[in-house]
């Protein structure tokens, strides 16, 4: 343990060899996050398409899909989306065109940058722990999953880590404190979980580091004014009813029963071994279902690392535990727990504990011959599951097949195409060039449609008395959608 203070990277000079190794890890992180990014996971799921459509609309008209110019909250189906990810996607769409890849690149880029930030946070404790943390973050199933989809959470997580890095830098060069603040505020404008996590964690970190801050009155005043102006400008977005619609609809208050019991139960579920190490989040878009958010081998490392950190630095131990506790709060406050997406902020402390556990084990000569093959074996298993099993088993959850159906119908000479599922609506704005798609209200029976010559797109599960024009298959080969002629 080289570091004298918690996460103190402010004065650390990083040797060239570490930079080389960091560059290699960074490259690996980048490759793992962008390889086949546009096609795996197969298809865009509804939130990704909603982001893509809004970004396209902003780029083309300067307005969102509802006609509101440059909004700070984007109206979407069933919720209002925070703006940062959509504007980032608009930039990427400008550069890469209106492609599925453009929606996912901000997340992948943020994921790669988070790996570098993790290194910077730990480097005060020595270059070996820092490199290991960066490596664990690089191959983390939890972090990889959300870096490879259009998830705002990935960007918010990266911004939060960078806010912490700049805060530490700011202890020496005070101007970095403003950068840290901007990163933190941007995180809160990216994903709702950050609105719970960032303020609480910020208070905790400022209290811990207050004696080291040593700001002059002038600096303190300038920083306070800067912060006040930004918060005042964005204040309406924090208190608006719209921004909290999703939270209110899925809040712990909607669960019924004893509130305290629900809260504690939700909190504890984030630390369930089944969630962490064996099956992960049951939502098929949030994991592979066959493995947890962390690798099996991280369990002993976390136990050993926890003990080691506690022995070496009570402050670091308390800070990492507090990070976990505060990181699990956004999940505990909602009705769905565990939830890997909302709890993504917890990834960092788990990797940090694993790192110190690995440092302990690697001191023993024999263990490295056990740990290294174990890590490699599980990484192979993960990559195999991700690239082979997701397309064949979980494609439906990612919206696989819809793109093919929409493009086929759009390019055909048919005048009108009916669809029933409202969730499909953004897909027509994204993939289709023609205004030929008609939404059938839920109350109307699909079997009673009378429009000879028109087509209907419906899931294969619904039996319909029309002539099949085409079966649309998932990547796995199974038929998912049918196109009928009325």
């Amino acid at each position: 343990m080289a570091g004298a203070h918690i996460f103190d990277s402010s004065n650390t000079i990083i040797p060239m060899k570490s930079w080389t190794l960091l560059a290699i890890i960074g490259l690996l992180a980048f490759v793992l996050r962008v390889y086949q990014l546009g096609s795996i996971p197969p298809g865009l799921y509804s939130d990704e398409v909603s982001i893509a459509v809004n970004a396209k609309s902003i780029l083309l008209t300067g307005k969102d899909e509802w006609g509101k110019p440059f909004p700070v909250l984007f109206r979407a189906y069933g919720e209002y989306k925070l703006p940062v990810y959509i504007y980032l996607t608009a930039v990427l769409e400008k550069l890469l065109g209106y492609t599925d890849l453009a929606v996912r690149v901000p997340s992948a880029a943020a994921g790669t940058l988070a790996v570098i930030a993790a290194y910077m946070l730990i480097v005060g404790w020595g270059k070996k722990p820092a490199l290991l943390t960066a490596l664990f973050m690089t191959i983390s199933p939890w972090h990889l999953q959300f870096s490879r989809g259009g998830f705002e959470s990935s960007v918010a997580f990266s911004l939060t880590l960078w806010a912490a890095v700049f805060f530490l830098k700011g202890l020496v060069r005070h101007r970095y404190l403003a950068v840290a603040f901007v990163c933190a505020v941007t995180a809160t404008q990216t994903y709702l979980s950050a609105r719970v996590f960032v303020p609480l964690m910020a208070v905790m970190i400022v209290v811990i580091f207050w004696p080291k801050l040593r700001l002059s009155k002038k600096e303190l005043f300038s920083l306070a004014v800067f912060m006040f102006v930004i918060i005042a400008a964005l204040f309406s977005t924090y208190i608006s009813f719209e921004s909290s619609i999703r939270f209110q609809s899925q809040s712990v208050l909607t669960m019924g029963g004893n509130l305290l019991n629900n809260l504690t139960e939700n909190l504890i579920k984030n630390f369930s071994f089944d969630f962490l190490f064996f099956h992960g989040d049951p939502n098929p878009r949030h994991g592979l279902l066959v493995m947890g958010e962390l690798y099996y081998w991280q369990l002993p490392l976390i136990v050993i690392g926890g003990g080691y950190v506690f022995k070496k630095s009570k402050e670091l131990f308390a800070l990492l535990i507090a990070w976990l506790a505060i990181g699990s709060l956004p999940v505990a406050l909602s009705s769905v727990s565990p939830h890997a997406l909302r709890g993504l902020l917890m990834v960092f402390p788990w990797q940090a504990f694993s790192t110190f556990g690995a440092i302990c084990l690697l001191k023993m000569k024999t263990t490295k011959w056990i740990v290294a093959p174990m890590v490699a074996l599980f990484l192979i298993f993960y990559l195999h599951s991700y690239y082979v099993h997701i397309p064949s088993e979980l494609g439906k959850a990612w919206g696989d097949g819809i793109k093919q159906a929409v493009i086929f119908a759009d390019s055909s000479p048919v005048p009108r195409v009916y669809v029933q599922e409202k969730i499909l609506w953004p897909y027509f704005h994204w993939y289709a060039n023609n205004e030929k798609f008609i939404y059938v209200e839920g109350s109307r029976s699909l079997t009673d449609l009378k429009d000879p010559g028109a087509w209907l797109i419906a899931p294969v599960e619904i039996a319909l008395p029309y002539k099949t024009i085409r079966d649309v298959s998932y990547v796995s080969g199974d038929v998912g959608w049918k196109i009928y002629e009325l």
Partner: protein, 112 residues
């Protein structure tokens, strides 16, 4: 009281060796089928075989009895707190024999 306690203990013990063995062929078949015809046979056999599934299921079952949510569900939050404090107390006083005994209990549950 003794009988009730045993019933209480066993009522939620679903993860056992018998269960693991019973489910094994299905799990292997499912995973191999998902790989499809185009997959490398050696890779499929290397990653989806009985030893891998048995080992991973066994680890999962064993660890599930030590999971915070399981302990809290069985013994309430106070029970979880008592468990964690006891572990901490035993580690800090280097009472490794008692610690080993505690960690042996889930292994016994696997054979019920």
């Amino acid at each position: 009281m003794g009988t009730r306690f045993t019933e209480f203990m066993i009522s939620d013990v679903t993860c056992t060796i018998a269960w693991i063995s019973q489910d094994l062929p299905h799990q292997v078949w499912e995973a191999q089928a998902a790989d499809g015809m185009g997959a490398y046979t050696w890779l499929t056999r290397f990653l989806h075989n009985k030893i891998m599934f048995w080992g991973s299921n066994l680890a999962r079952c064993y660890v599930s009895y030590l999971s915070p949510d399981y302990i809290a569900k069985k013994f309430t939050l106070v029970g979880l707190a008592v468990f964690l404090v006891t572990i901490w107390w035993l580690v800090s006083r280097k009472k490794y024999k008692w610690l080993a005994l505690i960690f042996l209990i889930p292994a016994i549950l696997l054979f019920l």
